[in-house]
Symmetry: C2
Subunit: 342 residues, 2 copies
């Protein structure tokens, strides 16, 4: 296959140029600070701040989740790379309003290392920092080994909930508790059919046979459960959902999903997989959820957590309780995800 045509300029500057574009997309609501961060322009004094971040190249996340009733800022890495400790520190200073900063991001070794170093720098300046890791990918490690789990598409509902909670949170502890609950109640399973390409080189992010589909594969092509023959939407959907159900069952920290549970159901495209395909899978998934008596409180569908033009989808389930439902109802607006009240 020949190299994918991409509309870029200097291939080594894409992370910076896209961030400039992202700031423009916010029409004055956000500004760029430091080396490579984006923060809201109007964070009120005393607000418990919410900082997200991670590697670039997965747009509209992570930095596209900065917004109204969402994250206050994002520390942005280069393409597929963690933000440096300096970037994390600069972003922390920029969002800090004296009442603490929550770091909420996907569990990747490089990100953890750099965010932790950024936190140390911030704490030296007297800024109170806490970290909640997102590890929703059910296929990346066993439920009793969450420190080895990756963060994938579940971060969208998790950041939405934490962003809403951060608007009224009186203390950093309060926000940490809600974010932890949202993480604990969220699981994702993804599949991939073809790779994205690395902007700097044009090389594919992984390889997969023409007639295969990677079940449980990560967003950069990390190994998953197994490769299976390419199949139909209606055959794949129950396989993916079963992995999610199984994980809730096996995990001793949460209850199994059961009749009457209310959830957010998120069908994510990893890039070039069409909304048509997402909707066809959603149709089948809804049939299965209905049969189990699991109530979908709200549905998200779209290419929100991507890896360039990678083909694949993921399902994420977030179980809601009364507190999370109220937070879900709050309107929000960002480049990645927006909703009206209710």
């Amino acid at each position: 296959m020949s190299e994918i045509k991409k509309l870029v300029n200097d291939k080594l500057k894409v992370a910076d140029e896209l961030l400039d574009g992202l700031v423009e997309a916010y029409d004055g609501e956000c500004k760029r600070v430091g080396t490579r961060s984006i923060v809201r322009s109007d964070i009120p004094d005393g607000k418990v701040a919410l900082l997200v971040g991670g590697g670039s190249g997965h747009e509209p996340i992570y930095h596209g989740l900065v917004g109204r009733n969402l994250a206050d800022g994002a520390a942005c890495g280069d393409i597929f790379a963690a933000p440096s400790p300096d970037i994390v520190f600069e972003a922390t200073q920029a969002v800090n309003r004296g009442n603490g900063v929550l770091y909420l991001y996907g569990n990747y070794a490089g990100d953890v290392m750099n965010f932790d170093m950024g936190a140390e720098l911030a704490e030296e300046e007297g800024i109170d920092v806490r970290t909640v890791l997102i590890w929703d990918d059910a296929c990346s490690a066993a439920p009793d080994n969450k420190k080895d789990r990756r963060g994938v598409a579940g971060l969208v509902p998790i950041v939405k909930l934490a962003g809403a909670a951060s608007q009224g949170a009186k203390t950093l502890d309060e926000l940490v508790a809600t974010a932890k609950k949202a993480v604990l109640q969220t699981r994702s399973v993804g599949v991939s059919m073809s790779p994205g390409s690395i902007p700097a080189t044009g090389n594919p992010t992984f390889e997969i046979e023409e007639d295969k589909i990677g079940l449980g594969m990560g967003i950069h092509g990390e190994p998953g459960v197994k490769e299976i023959p390419m199949t139909t939407a209606d055959e794949l959907t129950p396989m993916m959902l079963d992995l999610v159900f199984e994980d809730f069952e096996k995990d001793e920290e949460v209850e199994a999903l059961k009749k009457g549970d209310e959830i957010i159901f998120f069908v994510n495209s990893l890039g070039s997989t069409t909304m048509m395909e997402c909707l066809i899978c959603l149709r089948k998934a809804k049939e299965i959820l209905d049969a189990k008596g699991i109530v979908v409180y709200d549905t998200i569908v779209g290419p929100l957590v991507t890896c360039q033009e990678m083909a694949g989808i993921s399902f994420s389930i977030t179980r809601l309780d009364g507190e999370l439902k109220k937070l879900w109802d709050m309107p929000c607006e960002s480049v990645c995800y927006s909703k009206m009240e209710g």
Copy 2:
């Protein structure tokens, strides 16, 4: 290139199955009616109704624009095909609340023929129907020959504005006037780099050389201005914007874009072109608009008007006046486009 892997079932039933999924995405807010239409569940009595529609396969449009403060319903064709007159008629009956129905859709011959026949059937039943065609593609015919212009991505801001107007419109005439104004003030220019594929056959929707980019090409690969060598984001962006500016200038029905004008600026991905690329182009576009003193009131960016996994982007500009600005500020929610108040 081998056939793209798509997550579907029966390749001839994708339009129906995706519509079932779309209904599920609305969590009870919308229902499927007749052969292949989707309508809101709670259209109030006496509301002037707004009906959109067109071929499937371009998701999240057209049917994804049914929503809160947006369209009341959509008549959906098969993949890349106009809805039949019966479907249009069924959708019209389902959205009609006794105060008239506006048909607002892209100017394609098949759609015009079938919507017109649907309107005749509706009028025989005493339903008052008016049509406003969307012809925003500046590259598809000269400004004095709008009947030959195609409707492309500009339909998103146009339907957003008409949907807002339809909430308070007292008469069908009033809604027609606002929709016409939104159409008159909207222009788009698109480029394509590689085709999508037809779900039923796997065949590409058009052909283009590896090192070329189709300037002004339509969303199905209709011929545009010319093919140019593949170039950078910063070289392509001014070329595309110049075509938009030129069209406003040459068109005797509107004023040229000038300093102080307020606009909605929409960067659309035609499918697999990444948000990263859209943002890099937005960055350059904003620089050019700023230099001209044109004020971006709000920015939209994302893959909202697609043709399967086609690579390419389009820019759309909608000039606002006081009335349209107020309508823009109204919150809205749908699978295609959502925003908070203000």
